[in-house]
Symmetry: C2
Subunit: 356 residues, 2 copies
Amino acid sequence: MSARPTLESKVAVVMAGGKGTRFWPRSRSSKPKQFLAIAGEETLLHQTVRRLEGHFEPRHVFIVTTAELADETRRMLPELPLENILVEPEGRNTAPCLALSLVEIERRVPDGVMVVLSADHWIGDPEVFNEDVEIAVKHAVEARELVVFGIRPTYPESGYGYIEAEGSGTVQKVLAFREKPPLEVALQYLETGRHYWNAGMFVWTLADLREGLLQHCPEVLQPLDEWIKTGGHAATLPAAYGQLPQVAIDVALMEKAQNVALVPTRFRWSDVGSWPAAIGFHEADGEGNVVQGQAILLDVHNCAFFGGDRLIAASGLRDLIVVDEADALLICHRDQAQSVKKIVERLKQEGREDLL
Amino acid sequence: MSARPTLESKVAVVMAGGKGTRFWPRSRSSKPKQFLAIAGEETLLHQTVRRLEGHFEPRHVFIVTTAELADETRRMLPELPLENILVEPEGRNTAPCLALSLVEIERRVPDGVMVVLSADHWIGDPEVFNEDVEIAVKHAVEARELVVFGIRPTYPESGYGYIEAEGSGTVQKVLAFREKPPLEVALQYLETGRHYWNAGMFVWTLADLREGLLQHCPEVLQPLDEWIKTGGHAATLPAAYGQLPQVAIDVALMEKAQNVALVPTRFRWSDVGSWPAAIGFHEADGEGNVVQGQAILLDVHNCAFFGGDRLIAASGLRDLIVVDEADALLICHRDQAQSVKKIVERLKQEGREDLL
């Protein structure tokens, strides 16, 4: 189905369907993390697309998002062709998302090499990033392997999946994918120097993705191939999409495939996974406080205020995070940021859809 | 000028011109403490007037307020005759305020006995309060003395003036008024049992107030007498009022007069002077938290949330006061409530009249 891939036919697939409850009350179901400017002046989505400028043709940049977020995504990215915003009828994890991207892009760039990215990650060095992408694309085209980027761990994070690799060059052999480890295992991973964080960024030719899916998880591709054969109309997609298993691409493909390579990244990276992580992207004053919006602070240390139009006056505070939205206010200890998840759960239980 | 006073001719004068910056951001220059429901379901002003019901005729209840607050005060108290809302052209402390009340009420209730109250104090026992008022009124009428209520101190407050009295009955002889004492002196006062808090509540006949002012501070009354003689029109009041010295009734009259008696109060009293004081009037949950409005609390102890329409979600907090208004948010440690004053000062310096 696909023509012979070339270095020039690379396409970016930016997965932008995240729910993002961890930045409540700033993030909502209709305003997930990628729509927020929590790490810099621009939203993470804008940063992600800007980073590709000059390296990918606009018609080769695709965004995959959900029906709920599609309008806002199109509005935010007028520089992309409207038809490059691919719409999942519903979120069904990354394997269906990428299978849909595959059949959609095969129609337009049949010899494409797909660079899979996330819309809500921060990357510090765009030029280095694009150099690493080139290395991965070249390997995918020439060696016909599935390439995953590996982030060198800086601390024993137990919330990420790891990839064990072999070798020391710019392209390494993948030995195994490792699930989120307990802390003591994460510590061992950190010490080996052979384990990388799996940030969900991949490079492969369309042909190899097709072949891999058909071999290891055909049920995620076949209903979409049928859909294409019968015209590939938007109206009939939900029925086809609803048949796909809800599975991650790591499980559906990467953990099973043998032809997998790893490119260790050299750019700075963060998934900006929580309010404390977001604080790190803002300059603190002499007292360790970060202020977005207007604030009067008296005897306040090591606090972060993500405000809006309202004035925030604070006195005698330590180690707090304050997020001020029009309809909700979050005040939590820096060490309790994980409780945002519990708060969102509670709102769900209480039927407060207006706040979610 | 005044006829012979009787017990039936008692009038209440509720001083309601307070600025009230201590409850910022809930209190503003246009919405001082007496307009807030910070100690109970009703505003302090409403509570003050309700407390008099059945004991004072509505036409004998006067409110003295400033031009800025007059409209809202009239709106809040439709049960009072409109002309009973007396309007100070400007705030000039309590002696001018009471001199104006004197000349206004002499015109309507010439044999009046004036009961001076504050609009922004909390009183726990309305019936006991009215009994104490009766004792004071009776003494003012029969003994022709100036009566001050004395609150029995419960702790060594250094922010109040004290009154030293002699005797043990329901009416005592005043020996001296004492200014706000340093803490060690306040401790001594507490131990003597002869010192009372001066809450600025007085009872006197109109005739005795007139005589006392003419003797001890005629400059606070004579311009108003001239104003009455020339017709007492609203249009000419500001010029007359502007001539009055800015002085408290305690200094102008009470500290100098010899015919002063004290009625020790038996009702519970608070001037609700700060956010921590206000917290005491709300029922706390099992974790010591007070919540006004909607809140989701996780691992939160000994905090108070004075919210509004917005949801407040909090996690991992101790000993904080949160006051949430449409245009401003206060978060302060319970022990730092005095810093509200500094915050208000800062807003003045920054020209943020919109928030004051």
